[in-house]
Every structure is written in structure tokens, then in C-alpha cells.
């Protein structure tokens, strides 16, 4: 056992993320992560329609890390944290995605021109359309950090549901 499974850090009351996931950069995990993100969004109070949009944005962002950050290697590490948070705009969901992959200038992270219809080049556009705040940064040392925020405003709010597990 030993170092292969380091112990979790102690948490404080302020550590409010609903879920934190560290996973290998393997696309086979994306489906389970979508399912988990769906539960988080509903717990926070998003409607079904808003939930599926936030899930889509997070899925696109993770797929991009696997494709571009790790250039399709399956053994990179990805960290995802998601939970309720408040920013100047009010309450909503905060999602932070970090990796140890290739670093790129955040200015170069952009989709193709939408008029130029061809396969690919839509993910970043969709992330920016869906989320209220999208911030790409280089991490100290290696990898990228993407911070996403979506407001829980009138349109995005769902009936207060307990949220089943959604396959």
C-alpha cells in the first residue's frame, strides 16, 4: 500500500466543494463524471435544462484536457472540484479543472470561426456560451487550470429536487 494511496488531506469547514475527483486522463471516465456533475448541479438547485448545459460544459473541458493537454495519453492526472460558490454576481456553481499537461497561452484557447463549418473546433465556444465566467491559466510549474462559474439565476433554477442518480 504505502505511498500508492496517500491519505486524504484534513478538511476544514470552509472546504465546501461537493465533490473533488482525481482521475486518469481516460475518456472512459467521462460518462461517470457527467453523471456525478448532474447530481451536483441539481443539489445546488439548477433546473434540468441548466444542469444538462453545465454538465456539457464540464465534459467538453475535460475532453479538451485529455485531447490537447495530455495529447490523448491515458495516464495523465486530472483534478476536478465542483460545488456551490458565491462570486460578485451571486450564487452559483464553481468548477475548477486542473491538469499537469501541456501548457498553452490562454489566448490561444479558442474555437474555430462558427461560420467555417467543419468537424471539431466547437468545445471552447460551447463552454463560453454556457458558463458565466471562464478563466484559463497556466499553473505554477506544469499544466493548466480552468475555473468555471455559472450563476444560479432565475432562468437556471430548478424546483428544489432531491436529485436521483442520473445514469
Amino acid at each position: 500500500m504505502g505511498s500508492a494511496f496517500p491519505s486524504p488531506r484534513a478538511t476544514s469547514a470552509s472546504d465546501r466543494a461537493e465533490v473533488c475527483i482525481e482521475l486518469a486522463s481516460n475518456p472512459a471516465y467521462l460518462c461517470s463524471v457527467r453523471s456525478m456533475m448532474g447530481v451536483v448541479c441539481r443539489r445546488i438547485g439548477f433546473s434540468d435544462a441548466a444542469t444538462s448545459k453545465v454538465v456539457l460544459a464540464v465534459d467538453e473541458a475535460l475532453a479538451n484536457v485529455m485531447k490537447h493537454g495530455y495529447e490523448r495519453r491515458l495516464d495523465g492526472r486530472i483534478w476536478l472540484r465542483a460545488g456551490r460558490d458565491t462570486c460578485c454576481d451571486g450564487e452559483g456553481i464553481r468548477v475548477v479543472i486542473e491538469d499537469e499537461g501541456r501548457q498553452v497561452d490562454p489566448c490561444n484557447i479558442k474555437s474555430r470561426d462558427l461560420e467555417d463549418i467543419r468537424p471539431g473546433g466547437l468545445g471552447v465556444h460551447i463552454i463560453r456560451e454556457i458558463m458565466d465566467d471562464v478563466r484559463y491559466e497556466c499553473r505554477d510549474g506544469k499544466g493548466m487550470r480552468l475555473t468555471l462559474f455559472k450563476r444560479l439565476d432565475q432562468g437556471a433554477r430548478g424546483p428544489s429536487a432531491t436529485g436521483g442518480c442520473l445514469g
Binding site: 460518462c31 465534459d59 475532453a63 485529455m66 468537424p119 471539431g120 466547437l122 465556444h125
Partner: protein, 115 residues
């Protein structure tokens, strides 16, 4: 949790048309299977290829890319490509990507066979 794959694909012939009906989710992991099914159907050069999306409850950009690629091949090979059965959720993704006018879209397989 353990015996349903996240995407299954049914392929059938309906008169002159081929129908490809994926069911489940099309994300980055699942898109290659849809891509293969569409390419195989296009290779057989039907006069019409209907992609019935009724069973899709999740569509991400790798799925859209696959459909755009199929559209490009269909144009080169004179196959009429028609999508149908878009749920509200799938339609929303086409709209965010501004693709709703790029494809020929019908409500169901019956109308996709004639429009």
C-alpha cells in the same frame, strides 16, 4: 451500473434509405463508435442516410463533429443525409453550435424518408 454501454447503435434499411439510430450518450468516448457506423453506412452509398437521434439523451461536440463529417462525405458522394428525432436537449446543443440550419432536420423517421 454494469451492463449497459453508454452508446448502442442500431442500423437498418428502409426502402432506399439506411437508418442509423444511436441510443445513449455521444461524448468524446463514444463518438468513434458513431463515426464508424456512419462511415460504414455511407460506404454502402444508399440514396438516403437517416440518422435517428430519438434515443440520444446526451450530445457533445465530438458527436457534432462526427455528424458534420458525415454531412461532408454525403455531399461528396451524393447521399441525402437527414437527421431526425432531436430531443429538446439535443436541439439546444445544435443551436449553441449554430448548426441547426446546416443539416436537413425532420421530426421523425417517416418524414425523414420523404423530405
Amino acid at each position: 451500473m454494469a451492463d449497459k454501454s453508454s452508446l448502442s447503435i442500431r442500423v437498418e434499411t428502409r426502402g432506399e434509405a439506411s437508418v442509423v439510430a444511436p441510443a445513449g450518450e455521444v461524448g468524446y468516448h463514444e463518438a468513434p463508435a458513431l463515426r464508424s457506423a456512419l462511415r460504414e453506412s455511407l460506404d454502402r452509398k444508399p440514396s438516403r442516410l437517416i440518422v435517428d437521434l430519438t434515443g440520444i439523451h446526451y450530445m457533445a461536440t465530438p458527436g457534432l463533429a462526427t455528424l458534420i463529417e458525415a454531412l461532408q462525405i454525403s455531399k461528396r458522394t451524393n447521399v441525402t443525409l437527414v437527421l431526425c428525432g432531436l430531443t429538446d436537449r439535443v436541439r439546444a446543443v445544435f443551436e449553441i453550435a449554430r448548426l441547426q440550419t446546416v443539416f436537413r432536420i425532420a421530426t421523425d423517421v417517416d418524414s425523414a424518408a420523404t423530405i
